[in-house]
């Protein structure tokens, strides 16, 4: 039938109580401008809500924005939940306040792309695209 078309679908979510989402919204815009379909789930998402949204929206990537310092436990738990829920093929990326010494730990957990504070839009878009090369 029709020719297949591929569009990267990204869920941008903010887990937990941290209430600053300007960064998440701006990243969502940058990804839109790079031709991606961005589902923005808003603030204060529980991990259950993030998993359910990722299932119902069939996203290719979950992008978390975390400023609270809780990126290690959150990512560890979410990676486990993604496996339990059949989302093994969905990539996880995280941005926000991420100290450089934590990057190897996140990579080891299986976080596919990490964008610490100071990452440019160009780097974020390129990093996201690279996941699907």
């Amino acid at each position: 039938m029709m020719k297949t078309t591929n569009k990267i679908r990204v869920l941008i979510a903010k887990p937990g109580l941290d209430g600053h989402d300007k960064g998440a919204k701006i990243v969502a815009l940058a990804l839109r401008d790079a031709g991606m379909e961005v589902i923005y789930s808003g603030l204060h998402q529980t991990l259950d809500q993030i998993i359910e949204t990722a299932i119902q929206e069939t996203v290719d990537v979950i992008g978390l924005s975390i400023m609270s310092g809780a990126h290690l436990p959150i990512c560890e738990k979410l990676v486990a939940m993604m496996k339990e829920n059949g989302l093994d093929d969905v990539r996880l990326s995280v941005g926000g306040v991420i100290p450089y010494q934590d990057i190897p730990k996140l990579e080891k957990m299986g976080v596919a792309a990490i964008f610490p504070g100071g990452s440019s839009f160009k780097e974020i878009v390129a990093g996201m695209n690279q996941l699907f090369d």
Binding site: M1, T5, N6, K7, R9, G35, G42, T53, Q56
Partner: protein, 314 residues
Amino acid sequence: MPNADDIRSGNKLAGARLIQLIEKSDPNGFKLLKELYPDSGNAFIIGITGSPGVGKSTLIDGLIEAFRKMDFKVAVICVDPTSPFSGGAILGDRIRMQRHVTDKGVFIRSMASRGHKGGLSRTTKDCSVVLDAMGYDIIIIESVGAGQAEFDIIKIAHSIGVVSIPGAGDGIQAVKAGILETANIFIVNKSDRPDADATVESLKMMLNMRFSSQTEWLPRIYKTNALDKTGITIVAKAFLSHLKFMRQNDEWTRKRNELERLYFQSLLEDLVMEKVLEFMAVSKEVEAAIKSIGSHETDPISAAEQIADKILGF
């Protein structure tokens, strides 16, 4: 690859993945869709349309709650526009409904319009078939923030709710042809604002000017305030009354047949168009025609007529 039995049993992961295959125009998606088609046709499909910012998503959030209290399983498809510049999209309707996301009886899917005109995406109908086969009793489809001429929703939904807000246009807006004619239920949202009653009055005036008969559903008008949930349960019940009315008047069968026909027609148009475009991409005649138009030997109208006759075999 999702399988048909998982989808029939309502497995969300499988259903969502089938929707993705269909959106990607993957042949496996259409194969599964054909298999599942006989399992569809049970859901009541409600279309919600209206200008951007009138509160469609927030209203739907309230409708989900009302229908869940009546024990219906509810699926929602929210369509947002694709950027004509980048091809990307921000799909943000579900922010208003996110409290329902972990409810087992609720499924919310966002879709980008992907260049399709008419207020929906090309595959919105296909996706409603999937959700129907998954066993959702009610499917709510939210169109993109519509102007006066986005009508695709009436090709899919059994019942249409048009949402407006106080102060948006005077009497002449209300009698214009267009989206207002499509409504079975009018919702004047943000009704805590001034002029809500005047808006209701001008809608009533418009309805009174229409010819109507005993067997025809008379559109109803409701004031709501979706933010604090005022009036939402009544609107939910009004949609169910419309369904009941259609069932009692044979309108239901007529409407369903009509929607099936429109679905078939749009699929046929897509398939034919695709074949035509394929032909045009490789045809020597098209190439020659373009050349002769460029040198002003032929006018574009005659050239287009000749090629069209050639493609259609006349």
